[in-house]
């Protein structure tokens, strides 16, 4: 307990000092509030947005896009990755094209996304799906390729059929890799959602900070950024918990 308190205090020193210096700079008028508003002003704005319900609405809108886009991308990547990982023929068939498409950042699809899907949620979800697709796919493929042959032999010896071999052996054996891909995929989805909201929609955290820029409401911009940070942190913690649960059998996680 003592130890915990100590490390907490030590960890808080730098942020507190930064905040104090920042507040001092703003209060003394050293920098204009448009360039850098005081942290107290940012906090007040954040609180105001929270009470008005705007913050909650935008967070849910962004999260909704992340979830739908991610699920769409991962739902395509997972079966494709499982089959490509286990069949050298399919791998040879699909891999060249995928390698060609993979380096194109999802952001580069924005113009096409708008042409194809117009405005609103669909282009945003499309971009997020692309962002999530490749990390999940690549990790699933290498996960399946790294499945220890001994498990496949044991399964065949037990008379396990093709479908069960996929779902009950290869899929769980590849989970450590797949979850790494999921984590990277969610990270990418989170970047892409903010960018896409700056273009195609009129709510969400990305839209809100861009809107605030129009009016030069720096405090609102920073309040929005902090919310994005908090949401990302929450998402990552949830992922971590899921990870620990799904991999509770895994040697590497012995504490």
């Amino acid at each position: 307990m003592q130890q915990h308190l100590k490390s907490f205090v030590r960890g808080a020193i730098v942020p507190v000092v930064v905040l104090l210096v920042w507040e001092a700079c703003a209060r003394t008028g050293l920098v204009s509030p448009i360039v850098l508003p005081a942290p107290s002003a940012v906090a007040a704005k954040w609180w105001e947005a929270l009470l008005s319900g705007e913050l909650v609405h935008d967070s849910i809108a962004s999260l909704y896009r992340v979830v739908v886009g991610f699920v769409a991308g991962a739902a395509l990547a997972l079966p494709l990755g499982l089959t490509m990982g286990s069949s050298p023929r399919l791998y040879g068939l699909f891999n060249p094209m995928l390698q060609l498409l993979r380096p194109i950042p999802p952001i580069a699809y924005i113009p096409l996304a708008i042409l194809w899907f117009g405005l609103g949620n669909p282009p945003s979800v499309f971009l997020i799906a692309i962002g999530a697709f490749f990390p999940v796919l690549m990790n699933t493929i290498s996960g399946v390729r790294h499945v220890d042959g001994i498990y496949l032999r044991a399964a065949r010896n037990l008379g396990v059929g093709r479908l069960a071999l996929f779902t009950r052996v290869m899929l769980p054996a590849a989970t450590p890799y797949i979850l790494t891909g999921v984590r990277i995929g969610i990270g990418t989805a989170f970047i892409v959602v903010i960018v896409s909201e700056m273009i195609a929609v009129n709510d969400g955290l990305g839209y809100r900070i861009l809107e605030a820029r129009e009016f030069m409401w720096s405090d609102k911009i920073i309040a929005g950024m902090i919310t994005i940070g908090l949401l990302g942190l929450a998402l990552d913690s949830a992922m971590n918990a899921l990870n620990n649960h799904l991999l509770r059998w895994h040697r590497g996680l012995e504490h």
């Binding site: 010896n157 037990l158 008379g159 009950r168 895994h250």
Partner: protein, 265 residues
Amino acid sequence: MQNPQIVVSDVQKVFRTQERDVVALKDINLTIKQGEFVCLLGPSGCGKSTLLNAIAGFSLPSSGSIQVDGQAVTAPGPERGMVFQEYALFPWMTVAQNVAFGLEVKGMSKGAMAERVDSLLDKLHLKDFRNRFPKDLSGGMRQRVAIARVLAMDSPIMLMDEPFGALDALTRRNLQDELLRIWAEFGKTIIFVTHSIEESIYLADRIVVMTYRPGTVKRDHRVAIPRHRDPSCAEFNELKRELGSLVMEEQQRHAAAEMKLAAVD
């Protein structure tokens, strides 16, 4: 011990590698009766695993044939249950799930499955570990689970590739006794690979000593010592000396071959 159950005829296995062809098995002829406990004995590299894998159906012979109950072996199957040296338990399944898996994919009803799994876990002293994951078990425990998994399938034949090789001496003796009990109770046919001479004498009805490259049958010895065998008795040690010198000859050929290879490289 009635009919021949496993018939290996003129089996040859050649591994083609980039540098050369390795003749792992040559002119292997074996007839194993139902209920027999056979040990394959020989130094490293003499083709014990290759022969066992061929009988299991994992890798088919280059020529010759293997028949089980009159049927040619073409693929692995649950009637020839395999216990691997590396345990090969599914780490994402609990002990009970591992034992049940083969029954589950066979479509056995939940009730019958639970009953059989429970009785096996009980028999192999695994009851308190049923909900543990393999990572939490000792090597000896893991091998018990692997044996229970094969017993669950009710395979008439058990193939075991150095199953106790990684265990300490005490655990090893323990599991050997357990295996003999299971063998007597269930009447399995067992083919057991080992490079321990003592282990083979302790367990087997019959010891097949193999030669090193090409792997052939050097000696097919029937162990006449009555069970339960005492490793300190005179007969045991007599046989140990005899088989020891056979294995040593092959061991020396192995060493000589390696020296020659090293000189060529």
